[in-house]
């Protein structure tokens, strides 16, 4: 009955895919940015949607800084960009920021959240400096995406010198969890259901699930030594060991022993494994204190080689869609980690084109991001009547909350905290991402991973922090370089001060009405002390600051 009901939906989806493929081929010579705009505009026309106007320079500037560098621009950067009369200044800015070292830093934070989240499951993955260094290096040298993933899954070397093994380390001895994570993150496939029973409305069986888990069944954490203060953990792999399949969870009985399941690529071939030598024996644990030896045959390596191959139908599509979603707010398939037939793309032909071009450009991340950000679609205004955070048809720019790290960095720039530090030659006392604010508070009020789809989850507590919390720490230094110092000490006319206040904090000049209101507010004499601080606080805590839009 269920299948019968679903059939029309599936054939509809299939038809869409075919049309999409045909449409995709027509775009071969057109730059991807134009394909994006054409596909998006086509749907606007079909649906009779009026998109927002193009974003003004200031709005574009703030958005692109936050998306590429994870911070708002400084006053000097804003002023320079707004004054620049060159017609291609937006494209030039995108190029400049892609080469800024902060780009690699910010991408590293973004991908670290994808790969580990705020609370990784353990096995020393809580402190992963080596992995962070590895990622940063990859983004800095613009390593192709498929190569980065392959290196992560090959997991060679140790967690300190090479870094890469830390990703799979979180799942050692939990092959089922590894299969779930790897298929979700790198293939956009949700296999969880098939862990306990055949997937209810997709074509995955429990045997498919265990066939994928089998690739990770033999991994073991090996303490190979220390490198300074860091542990050197390596991911050893044994030559024997299997996942056991006991049948549907509902039929499970205590003591029932499962069948070993051999590795098999999802919807693909079983893995061809060489026979082990006769009488092969190995100790139950791989010895520590040195780097582990290679197994007789590595299942993990076979998986790493397979995952980015062209005959894996999910890999490139997932990557193209995920990165598109990162910058446009919503993947063409949304949420990005569920490329299922029951969750079809909003713009099928667009998704096909993104996938095809990303592959044709050999998974060149900077090229791809440059195309996305140069599209008119990305550069639409966030003003408009659409109410969704991420409008389905991209008719208005996204609204995504700043992460805890982005907020702290942007507040430091906006208040001049960083500039004053630089001028005084001092370093913040606790030089993490959140200084001078408290990491624990920032993470508890702003660091929630959200609902998994990027939706805003803030509530009353964050305002208690903003209203009564420790933002004053950003004002504790009111010396040269801070905005507070400028507002209170400069001889500039008050109108000029208000303009600077807006440019430095919101990356835009004030409207006429705002200028008038703020000039009046700052001109009041009694009580004077808090005036400037209150003006800065207002722009730090308002909705316009809280979101990237």
């Amino acid at each position: 009955m269920l299948e019968k009901l679903l059939r029309p939906v599936s054939s509809f989806a299939a038809a869409v895919v075919v049309c999409g493929m045909l449409a995709g081929t027509a775009h071969a010579e057109t730059p991807l940015r134009e394909v994006i705009d054409a596909e998006v505009a086509k749907v606007w026309k079909e649906k009779g949607i009026n998109p927002s106007a193009p974003a003004p320079d200031a709005e574009f500037l703030r958005r692109v800084y936050l998306d590429l560098l994870g911070t708002t621009p400084s006053y000097q950067e804003t002023a320079a960009f707004l004054d620049d009369a060159a017609p291609d200044k937006r494209a030039k800015l995108i190029d400049k920021l892609l080469d800024d070292p902060r780009f690699a830093e910010h991408q590293t934070r973004e991908w670290d959240m994808v790969l580990f989240g705020r609370n990784p499951p353990g096995y020393d993955s809580g402190s992963r400096e080596g992995f962070i260094r590895f990622l940063r290096e990859q983004f800095a040298k613009n390593a192709p995406y498929d190569q980065i993933v392959k290196t992560i899954l090959l997991a060679e070397g140790d967690t300190s010198n090479q870094g890469a093994p830390m990703f799979l380390m979180q799942y050692q001895r939990n092959p089922e969890d590894a299969a779930v994570a790897v298929t979700k993150i790198f293939m956009g496939v949700q296999l969880e259901c098939a862990r306990c029973h055949d997937h209810p409305f997709e074509d995955y069986t429990q045997v498919d699930f265990y066939g994928m888990a089998a690739f990770f069944a033999r991994l073991q954490r090996v303490e190979a030594g220390t490198n300074g203060k860091e542990k050197m953990l390596a991911l050893g792999e044994k030559s024997t060991g299997d996942v056991l399949f006991t049948g549907p969870a509902i039929d499970a009985t205590p003591g029932k022993k499962g069948e070993p399941i051999a590795p098999k690529f999802l919807k693909g071939e079983p893995l061809a494994e060489p026979e082990l030598p006769q009488d092969f024996k190995e100790p139950p644990n791989i010895p520590g204190g040195k780097m582990p030896e290679k197994p007789q045959f590595s299942r993990k390596d076979a998986f790493a080689e397979w995952v980015a191959r062209p005959d894996n139908p999910w890999f490139a599509r997932e990557a193209a869609n995920r990165i598109f979603g990162q910058f446009l707010g919503k993947g063409v398939v949304h949420p990005v980690d569920n490329l299922s037939d029951v969750n079809p793309p909003s713009h099928p032909a667009l998704l096909d084109a993104l996938e095809k071009e990303f592959v044709a450009h050999r998974f060149d991340i900077k090229w791809y991001v440059r195309e996305l950000l140069n599209s008119k679609t990305y550069q639409l205004s966030s003003a408009g009547s659409a109410t969704e955070a991420f409008p389905l048809y991209y008719e208005r720019a996204k609204y995504r909350p700043l992460s805890a790290e982005e907020l702290a960095a942007s507040w430091r720039v906006a208040t001049g905290y960083d500039e004053a530090l630089a001028k005084s030659g001092k370093k913040p006392e606790n030089a993490d991402d959140f200084a001078p604010l408290t990491r624990g508070y920032m993470l508890s009020f702003f660091g929630k991973p959200g609902d998994g789809e990027g939706n805003f989850q803030g509530g009353m507590h964050e305002h208690l922090y903003l209203n009564n919390g420790e933002l004053a720490r950003l004002f504790a230094n009111s010396g040269d370089g801070t905005l507070l110092h400028y507002l209170s000490k400069s001889e500039d006319p008050i109108e000029k001060k208000v303009e600077r206040l807006f440019l430095q904090m919101l990356s835009r000049p004030p409207s006429e009405e705002e200028a008038k209101f703020f000039v009046a507010y700052l001109s009041e004499t009694e009580p004077s002390g808090q005036r400037q601080q209150n003006a800065i606080w207002t722009l730090m805590t308002c909705s316009e600051f809280r979101f990237n839009h």
């Binding site: 306990c196 998994g452 507590h461 208690l464 209150n534 308002c542 909705s543 979101f547």
Partner: protein, 423 residues
């Protein structure tokens, strides 16, 4: 049972069809649970002024040391049973006060749930659904806040007093996020402003000006929610005194017992009296893998005294008939006693209890088998449990909210209301 199965996929065929068709048509919208759940309905329920207090036994209290004694059996443990005010029904000697108040309780001895570990169980026994990759289910507190809370109150409608929270308001949106008090019932960090009031007022005016001018041509939902939460935080300043229960505590601490859980229960009573829809009070920690018996001896008596006092106090104030008091944790404990005198996690057969609004008193529902290994009759699943609770509070458990395009009933599809428990 496997704790990894995303139960959100286990939804009705009808829900599935709606979801699939809606997606094929290309509609995925975030609507914070709009559509079928109209404001008019929420207002209707709120008029009846129902409240709910959930006493949360964190870690999972043992059914064998509370409501489901197996005296003389290998699984029975060391405590004796005592008579209750319900002829023929006996409870653990650790609960002398509750034993006298079974006439107010509906005890369920046939809970059978699906999540055997703490994180999964805590999620499940707050949301009625198992944790899932794609949907954030709202907790009972958020649901009661939405459907029974006063939308115009300056007070938050969902308060937690040192109780765990893994999901909060979920897809119902930030408006229904829990408001957390610490273990002494004190307001959260940063609740109190140190500013000069006149200065703060001017700052507020400046901020309102900026927000209003921005909202004129920016109508995205997240900015509206951000502003709403700011207003909520500000309104809290008007009602801070509600949370100051010190003088009440001095009057009532003998009655509730001079304990942390006693103070939490008294605070819960004060907050319900002030009009808050849902209050959860947590009691740590029943996870007695070792020394189960000393562990329960240390915890159950203080808890049951506070609980009994709460029931009496609510009744004396005429609040019990409109206030449902839930007693539960995330799991039960094993029939077998391990070699550290402990009991491990068990969800095949365990106990919970309800009292007050909408439920019968003096009722013992369901039964476990001779050794407490399994439910003998009338199993109650997590879905049944929550469906029954919502019905008792006058909230239709089949109301659907939308998480994206997926319609999700308050209690999982297929849950049954245990009518026998309802008054």
């Amino acid at each position: 049972m496997n704790p990894h199965c995303p139960r959100n996929e286990h939804i009705s065929r009808r829900a599935l069809m709606k979801g699939a068709l809606a997606t094929a048509a290309g509609a995925t919208v975030m609507n914070w649970g709009g559509l079928t759940s109209t404001p008019a309905f929420a207002a209707e329920v709120a008029k009846k002024q129902k409240h709910c207090i959930m006493l949360w036994m964190n870690g999972g209290a043992s059914q064998f040391e509370t409501f489901d004694m197996k005296v003389g059996r290998p699984t029975g443990g060391i405590f004796r049973e005592i008579d209750t005010d319900l002829p023929g029904y006996k409870v653990c000697e650790l609960m002398p006060e509750i034993a006298k108040r079974i006439h107010k309780l509906a005890v369920i001895r046939s809970m059978r749930t699906s999540q055997i570990d703490h994180p999964g169980g805590i999620y499940l026994m707050h949301a009625g659904y198992a944790e899932a990759a794609n949907v954030r289910f709202p907790e009972i507190g958020a649901i009661v806040a939405k459907y029974a809370g006063d939308p115009n109150s300056d007070l938050p409608n969902f308060v937690k007093i040192s109780a765990p929270s893994y999901t909060g308001a979920g897809f119902l949106g930030p408006k229904y996020q829990p408001f957390g008090l610490d273990q002494n019932g004190r307001l959260p960090t940063f609740s109190v402003s140190g500013m000069n009031p006149a200065d703060e007022q001017r700052r507020h005016e400046l901020r309102s000006f900026i927000e209003e001018s921005y909202a004129r041509d920016h109508q995205a939902e997240p900015t509206r929610m951000h502003q709403q939460a700011y207003e909520q935080a500000r309104r809290l300043q008007n009602v801070r005194s509600v949370f100051d229960v010190e003088s009440e505590w001095q009057k009532y601490k003998e009655k509730y017992g001079d304990s942390a859980i006693g103070r939490k229960c008294l605070t819960a009573r004060c907050l319900v009296e002030a009009g808050i829809a849902f209050v959860e009070a947590g009691h740590d920690n029943y996870d007695t893998h070792a020394d189960n018996f000393t562990g329960h001896k240390a915890r159950v008596p203080v808890m049951e005294k506070a609980w009994a006092a709460l029931l009496d106090d609510l009744e004396e104030r005429g609040l019990l008939q409109d206030t449902l008091v839930i007693w539960t944790g995330e799991i039960g404990r094993t029939p077998s006693i391990n070699n550290r005198s402990g009991r491990d996690h068990y969800v095949r057969s365990w106990s919970t209890a309800l009292a007050g609004a909408g439920v019968k008193g003096g009722l013992v529902y369901g039964e476990s088998d001779r050794d407490g290994h399994d439910v003998k009759d009338n199993p109650v699943t997590e879905g049944d449990f929550f469906a029954t609770i919502y019905k008792a509070l006058g909230i239709d458990p089949t109301i659907e909210n939308y998480a994206g395009i997926r319609p999700i009933p308050l209690a999982p599809f297929g849950s049954k209301v245990v009518e026998d428990l309802l008054a």
